[in-house]
C-alpha cells in the first residue's frame, strides 16, 4: 500500500497537477456558490476542458478539485444567504443561516471549512484503505454479476431518489435506459431508433442531457420565482470573529469523527450520496445530543453545521469507491465523472488499480491536496468570496444559461445539440413540475450502454437468460434489487394502513 501511495505522490506532485487542484478548487468554490450550478453542472461544464488536457490523471485531479470546491461553495451560500447552491448543503443551512444572522457568519463558515476538511481527509484515508479490498471482491464478478450489480445500483438509486414515489423514479430510469439505446451501439454496428435523423446517429450527447436535466430547469425555476434567489443586496452581514472557542472545538470534534465515518460508508452505497449523508448526519447528531443541546439545533448550533458538512464531504469521497473500483457511479455527479473517464479512454473497474495504479493513487492524493488547498484558500478568502453572491439576478441568470449552452456546444461544435438541449430542458422542467426525479434518468442514460453490454455478453455465454439462475451471485443480487424496489412502497403502504386503522379506532 505504501508503494502505491508513493506512486500516487509521484503522479500528483507535479507542478501542473498542483496548479490543477488549486485552479479546480477555486473554480468549484466560485461557481458552486451560484444558485443553480451544483457540482454536477460544474463538472459537466469542466469536462470539455478536462478532455482537452488529455492526461487522465491530471484531468481527474482537476475534476476532483472542482467537485470539492463546489461542495464547499454550496455551503458558503447556504450559510450566508440561506440559498443552498447544492442539495447536499441544504442541511447546512438549517443551523448555518441562523448562526450567520446572529452575527457569527465568520464562525459558521470556519466550522464549515474545518468540518469539510476533516470529513474529506478522513474519507480519503478510508478510501485508500478500503478500496483495494472492495476491488479484490469485485474481481470475482463476471459479466452476469456486473449486469446484476448495475440493476441493484439502478434500483437503489430509484428507491432513494423517489422518496415514496418509487414508480416515478423507476419510470425515469427506464426512460434514461431507452434514450441510451438511440444511435449506433458498440455491439451491433447498426443504428437504432434514429428515425433517419443523421444527428442522432451517434446517440444523444451526455453533457447535453446533463445540462438539460439539471442546470436548465434550475435556471428556469430561478426565472419563474424571483424569491428563489436571494441575491443582489450584497450585504451578507458582518463576517468577523472567525475563531471557535475551545469548548466549541471539544463539542464538535466527536461529531466530526462520527459523521466522517458514517458519511463515507453512506457515500459508498450506490444511490445514497452526499445529500442523504448530510441529512442523515444532521438527524443522527440531533437525536443523540443531550436534551439542552437538542433545543439549540435549528437556532445556530455549531454541531448542526459540523455534522452535515463533515458527512457530505466524506460521502463525496466515499462515492469514488464504487466509481473507481466497480465502474458504477453512486450518484449523478459521479455518473458524470464516469462519462468523463470513458471519454478519456479510462475504463473504471477492478482492472483500473492493476492496469493503471497511478491514476487511482493520484486521485486519492489529489483528495488530500484538494481538501488542504480548500482550507488554506478559503479561510482568508471567506469575506471576499461572499461578494460573488452580490451579482444582480439580471446578469446572473443570462450567464447561467450561457454557460449551460456553452457546456453543450464546446465539445461537439454542433448547433443542433443546442436545440436538443433546449427541447430536453423544457421536458425536464415539466418533469420537475410533476415531481419526477431527474437523477435516475441521467444515471440510467449513462449506465445504459454498460448494462446492455454486460447483459448481451452474459446472454451469449449462457445462450439465453440461464445465467440468472445458474449463477447464484447473480440471482442473489437480482433478488436484492427487487427487495430494494418493493420495500419502500411496502413500508409506506403498511404505515398508511396503520395510520388509517388508528383514525378508524378514534
Amino acid at each position: 500500500m505504501l508503494e502505491g501511495l508513493l506512486v500516487g505522490l509521484q503522479t500528483a506532485f507535479t507542478f501542473t497537477n498542483i496548479m490543477m487542484v488549486i485552479g479546480g478548487c477555486l473554480i468549484g468554490t466560485f461557481i458552486g456558490m451560484l444558485p443553480g450550478l451544483g457540482p454536477m453542472s460544474i463538472i459537466a461544464i469542466m469536462i470539455p476542458v478536462a478532455i482537452t488536457i488529455g492526461d487522465p490523471s491530471t484531468a481527474l485531479i482537476l475534476l476532483a478539485g472542482v467537485y470539492y470546491g463546489a461542495v464547499f461553495g454550496g455551503s458558503t451560500s447556504s450559510i450566508l444567504i440561506n440559498a443552498p447552491g447544492v442539495a447536499s448543503t441544504v442541511a447546512t443551512s438549517f443551523d448555518g443561516y441562523p448562526m450567520a444572522r446572529s452575527g457569527k457568519a465568520g464562525k459558521a463558515l470556519t466550522i464549515a471549512a474545518i468540518s469539510s476538511f476533516a470529513g474529506g481527509t478522513i474519507g480519503a484515508i478510508l478510501l485508500a484503505v478500503f478500496a483495494p479490498a472492495l476491488a479484490s471482491v469485485a474481481l470475482l464478478f463476471h459479466s452476469s454479476e456486473y449486469f446484476a450489480l448495475m440493476v441493484v445500483g439502478l434500483s437503489a438509486i430509484a428507491a432513494f431518489a423517489g422518496t415514496g414515489q418509487v414508480s416515478k423514479a423507476l419510470l425515469m430510469t427506464f426512460v434514461g435506459l431507452m434514450m441510451a439505446t438511440v444511435g449506433e451501439g458498440v455491439l451491433f454496428n447498426m443504428p437504432r431508433f434514429t428515425m433517419g435523423i443523421m444527428d442522432l446517429q451517434s446517440g444523444f450527447g451526455f453533457i447535453t442531457l446533463a445540462m438539460a436535466m439539471f442546470a436548465l430547469p434550475e435556471a428556469i425555476y430561478l426565472v419563474l420565482d424571483p424569491k428563489r434567489s436571494k441575491t443582489g443586496d450584497g450585504d451578507s452581514g458582518e463576517i468577523k470573529d472567525l475563531r471557535i472557542t475551545r469548548e466549541e472545538a471539544r463539542s464538535i470534534a466527536p461529531v466530526i469523527g462520527r459523521q466522517s465515518i458514517q458519511g463515507f460508508f453512506i457515500g459508498v452505497l450506490p444511490g445514497a450520496g452526499a445529500t442523504i449523508a448530510s441529512f442523515l448526519g444532521y438527524a443522527v447528531e440531533r437525536n443523540i445530543a443531550p436534551k439542552e443541546e437538542q433545543a439549540q439545533f435549528g437556532k445556530g448550533a455549531p454541531k448542526g453545521i459540523a455534522a452535515p458538512e463533515s458527512a457530505n464531504n466524506a460521502a463525496c469521497t466515499g462515492s469514488f469507491v464504487p466509481l473507481l473500483t466497480l465502474g458504477i457511479p453512486g450518484a449523478g455527479t459521479t455518473a458524470i465523472l464516469l462519462g468523463a473517464l470513458i471519454a478519456l479512454n479510462v475504463s473504471p473497474g477492478p482492472r483500473l488499480m492493476i492496469d493503471e495504479p497511478q491514476i487511482f493513487r493520484a486521485v486519492i492524493i489529489s483528495m488530500y491536496l484538494g481538501n488542504l488547498v480548500l482550507l488554506i484558500l478559503n479561510l482568508p478568502l471567506i469575506p471576499y468570496i461572499a461578494k460573488v453572491l452580490a451579482v444582480p439576478r439580471n446578469y446572473l441568470i443570462p450567464f447561467i444559461l450561457f454557460f449551460t449552452l456553452m457546456g453543450a456546444y464546446i465539445g461537439q461544435n454542433n448547433a443542433t445539440e443546442l436545440l436538443i438541449l433546449v427541447g430536453f430542458g423544457v421536458c425536464a422542467t415539466m418533469l420537475r413540475f410533476a415531481d419526477y426525479p431527474l437523477a435516475p434518468l441521467l444515471i440510467g442514460f449513462i449506465l445504459g450502454p454498460l448494462l446492455e453490454y454486460n447483459f448481451s455478453r452474459a446472454m451469449q455465454r449462457y445462450d439465453g437468460v440461464g445465467f440468472i439462475w445458474e449463477r447464484p451471485m447473480t440471482l442473489a443480487l437480482l433478488i436484492l434489487a427487487l427487495i430494494l424496489v418493493i420495500l419502500p412502497s411496502y413500508r409506506q403502504r403498511r404505515a398508511r394502513a396503520r395510520a388509517e386503522g388508528v383514525a378508524d379506532g378514534d
Partner: protein
C-alpha cells in the same frame, strides 16, 4: 387529471411507439447469420419497453399513492399566474435564437446579443453597463476557449470570413 399522470400518458405513448419499432420493424434488416445469435439488437429494447409500459401504467392508473407535496420552495402549478412565465418563455426563445444564429453571426456577436437581450428580458435597463459586461464576457470566453483551450469557435460573422 394531475400533470404527473398526463406526463405518464405521454411517456406511455412514446413507449408504445418505441416498443412497436423494437418488436415489429427493427429485426427486418437483420442478416440471417445474426439471427442465430441469442441476442439481437432488439432484445434489450424489448425488455426495457416492458418496464417502461409497466411503470407508466402504474402512475397513470394511480396505483402508487405519492406523499403530499410539502416543499414550499417548489413551484406550485396552480398559481402559475404568479410566476414570471413570460420571462421564462422569452429566455427559452432567446436560447433557440442563439442556437440558430451562432453559425451565421459568429460566436462573439451572438454571445454579446444573447447576454444583452437576456438581461434586458429580466428587466435590466442600464444599457451601457449591460453592453460592457456582455462584451467583456463574450471576448473573454472566446479567448479562453479558442486560444487557451484550443477548441475552435468561429469568432466573426459568416460574411466576414467568406462563409
Amino acid at each position: 387529471m394531475a400533470i404527473d399522470r398526463w406526463i405518464a400518458f405521454v411517456i406511455l405513448s412514446l413507449c408504445i411507439v418505441y416498443g412497436y419499432s423494437a418488436y415489429f420493424t427493427m429485426d427486418d434488416l437483420l442478416p440471417p447469420i445474426m439471427q442465430r445469435r441469442p441476442i439481437w439488437p432488439s432484445t434489450f429494447p424489448k425488455v426495457l419497453v416492458a418496464g417502461g409500459i409497466l411503470f407508466s401504467l402504474i402512475i397513470l392508473l394511480g396505483l402508487e399513492k405519492g406523499p403530499e407535496k410539502k416543499d414550499a420552495a417548489d413551484i406550485n402549478l396552480s398559481r402559475i399566474g404568479d410566476y414570471n412565465y413570460g420571462q421564462a418563455v422569452l429566455l427559452l426563445g432567446l436560447m433557440v435564437a442563439y442556437a440558430l444564429l451562432l453559425r451565421p453571426l459568429g460566436f462573439i456577436a451572438s454571445t454579446f446579443l444573447f447576454l444583452t437581450v437576456g438581461s434586458f428580458i429580466l428587466g435590466e435597463r442600464r444599457y451601457i453597463t449591460m453592453a460592457i459586461v456582455s462584451a467583456i464576457a463574450a471576448g473573454f470566453v472566446w479567448y479562453l476557449v479558442d486560444s487557451v483551450l484550443g477548441i475552435f469557435l468561429r469568432p466573426l460573422p459568416m460574411f466576414m470570413t467568406g462563409g
